[in-house]
């Protein structure tokens, strides 16, 4: 599994890595925040559309959709961020370069979902085609969520390098509790943030009477999902592999919980004290929370993927070549035996080409070519020769082993 001698599990070049480290988290934050608010907003709108009364609630549903659901600009933005994320992984983590099916599996539902949601927006504004309209909205939401689920699971793989070589034989490995937790965290955060957008909509209406319902609906939705978020976050941390954890991860998670607590208090305030405007600071806090969430993820990934943990992935599906175990053809039996003795005992201190503890054998063995007996005598009872090296110890070798290893040295050393 090596390409040109380089491990296929090597990470990208430093340029790619720097790019990835700065740009990928940012793109992830934009993508998930925008997509999340859209999915949440569409869900709220569909719920209002189905369960609400047309005259009281459809206006609000349309207003929510107008704000969150995709116009052509948003579709382009979200498609672009999704492509950028996949490309970031492709270049930054080449071993995990998304396969064709993964590209198709994330982008197709995303684009189809966005198309359905904009169709739903149009139908809702015109107030037409009710049962069809709602199923159109629901299908759009489901497709967008499927795409997010796949992206979350894929990003979960980045902290589990041990799975990489096995993905091809066992594609089910794509699914993990860690990835699922990530997806649930995303859903909670985005539905909560949508609540804040709905509050904002209420504050933007002229009539104070009209503002009350959106404020209650948005505040309630945001608070509910904010409260559901901590257990999901903890579940995700519980399932994170040990190599991904570090003090920084725990501290960032604690900071995120504190931020979430502040947010929840603000939301409670918005529900209780209805006269003050609070939507914008709340939305800003949500953006900060999304950023923190992406940072935790980023830190975990950095922890998990050092040189040591990526090592050996090439070896998971391959066995050591048999030739290493079988003696090379044409070697005399004594030389084979001598090689074994050398590797077990002498190689501790000697190499042929370089100085280690003792001198390079290529430099000292040739002078014994004329007199192999002298070589054996030296190995039997070493004497101090070169003051530049420590004294070689007398080794517990049998006469047969001395014979064999001397034969091996003379055969192997440079002429």
């Amino acid at each position: 599994m090596t390409a040109g001698g380089r491990s296929v599990y090597a990470l990208g070049t430093p340029v790619n890595l720097t790019l990835l480290k700065s740009v990928l988290p940012l793109v992830l934050c934009i993508h998930f925040a925008r997509l999340g608010v859209m999915a949440g907003g569409a869900t709220a709108a569909v719920a209002l559309d189905i369960f609400g009364t047309p005259d009281r609630h459809r206006g609000l549903a349309a207003a929510i959709l107008k704000r969150v659901a995709p116009g052509p600009g948003t579709v382009a933005l979200l498609g672009l961020t999704a492509v950028l994320i996949l490309l970031g992984v492709q270049f930054g983590y080449p071993p995990l370069a998304p396969s064709g099916p993964f590209w198709a599996g994330t982008l197709t539902p995303l684009l189809a979902g966005l198309a359905l949601l904009s169709l739903y927006r149009r139908l809702l504004r015109q107030g037409r085609g009710m049962p069809l309209r709602a199923s159109c909205g629901l299908a759009g939401i489901a497709l967008v969520l499927v795409s997010s689920f796949l992206l979350c699971c894929g990003s979960g793989l980045l902290v589990m390098p041990e799975k990489w070589p096995l993905l091809e034989p066992v594609p089910m490995l794509l699914l993990s509790w860690s990835g699922t937790a990530r997806y649930l965290e995303f859903t909670c955060l985005s539905f909560a943030a949508t609540g804040a957008v709905i509050i904002l909509l209420g504050e933007r209406t002229a009539e104070p009477e009209d503002a009350r319902f959106p404020r209650r609906l948005g505040g309630g939705m945001a608070l509910l999902f904010m409260l559901a978020w901590p257990p999901v976050l903890l579940f995700g941390l519980f399932n994170l592999p040990a190599i991904a954890l570090s003090g920084a991860v725990w501290l960032l998670a604690a900071a995120a919980l504190v931020l979430a607590a502040i947010l929840a208090l603000q939301l409670a305030g918005a529900l209780i004290k209805t006269e003050k405007r609070r939507a914008l600071p709340i939305l800003a806090l949500f953006l900060a929370l999304f950023a923190l969430w992406v940072l935790i993820d980023h830190q975990a990934r950095e922890n998990a993927l050092d040189e040591a943990s990526r090592g050996g992935l090439d070896a998971v599906l391959t066995s050591a070549p048999a030739s290493e175990k079988k003696p090379a053809a044409g070697m005399a039996p004594a030389v084979v035996e001598g090689k074994a003795v050398f590797e077990r005992i002498c190689a501790v201190c000697h190499r042929f080409e370089v100085r280690l503890v003792g001198p390079p054998l290529d430099a000292v063995v040739p002078k014994y070519r004329e007199d192999p007996e002298a070589l054996k005598a030296f190995i039997r009872t070493p004497v101090k020769r070169d003051p530049a090296y420590p004294e070689m110890p007398k080794l517990p070798l049998t006469e047969a082993e001395i014979e064999a290893v001397a034969a091996y040295l003379l055969e192997k050393a440079a002429p």
Partner: protein, 176 residues
């Protein structure tokens, strides 16, 4: 009336703070629990695989002598170290510590980095003889300044490799 409302609001806020405080508490407990088996425990002597396995190119089995013939790979006895450290790098503080142990005839208690539960049967011999490289399960040990566990050692990890390589996956293989 007014007081009641005020009290209700205070209670609601307290409940919120309590919920997130509880989450923080669980986070702290979780952090402690997960750090209990650190991936890279501090060793009594700072033994660098980087120097010995990477720079000196010593074979893994030179020190872990039993890997191909026993269930345990084994951590080397101090005599193995002293073959070299009687004369090499004797002035380094960590090597001094090593020699101190040898002089006092006091074994070095290496902290285990990998440990399977007792109910699991694992053997190095079968894997090493089947040509599975050490690095497949231990990562690039030669690049580790301090020895680190980089594979999860979970049942799923063992079984997926077994499945992918056609090794046995019935329960009795690993549980007896």
């Amino acid at each position: 009336m007014r007081g009641d409302k005020w009290r209700m609001r205070l209670l609601a806020r307290l409940a919120l703070v309590g919920w997130f405080g509880l989450a923080l508490l669980v986070l702290a407990v979780l952090a402690r629990h997960r750090e209990q088996a650190p991936v890279a425990p501090v060793q009594p002597i700072d033994f660098p695989h980087t120097v010995h396995a990477d720079r000196l190119k010593l074979a893994c089995t030179f020190c872990h002598t039993f890997a191909d013939r026993s269930s345990r790979a084994g951590v080397p006895p101090l005599a193995t170290c002293m073959a070299c450290h009687r004369s090499i790098a004797v002035e380094r503080p960590e090597v001094r510590k090593l020699r101190g142990h040898v002089e006092r005839r006091e074994p070095v208690v290496w902290q285990r980095v990998h440990r399977l539960p007792d109910h699991v049967h694992f053997t190095h011999k079968r894997h090493v003889r089947a040509g599975v490289d050490c690095s497949a399960c231990h990562g690039a040990v030669a690049k580790m300044e301090r020895t680190k566990r980089v594979r999860p050692l979970t049942m799923g990890w063992c079984v997926t490799c077994h499945r992918a390589r056609g090794a046995p996956t019935d329960c009795a293989t690993c549980h007896r």
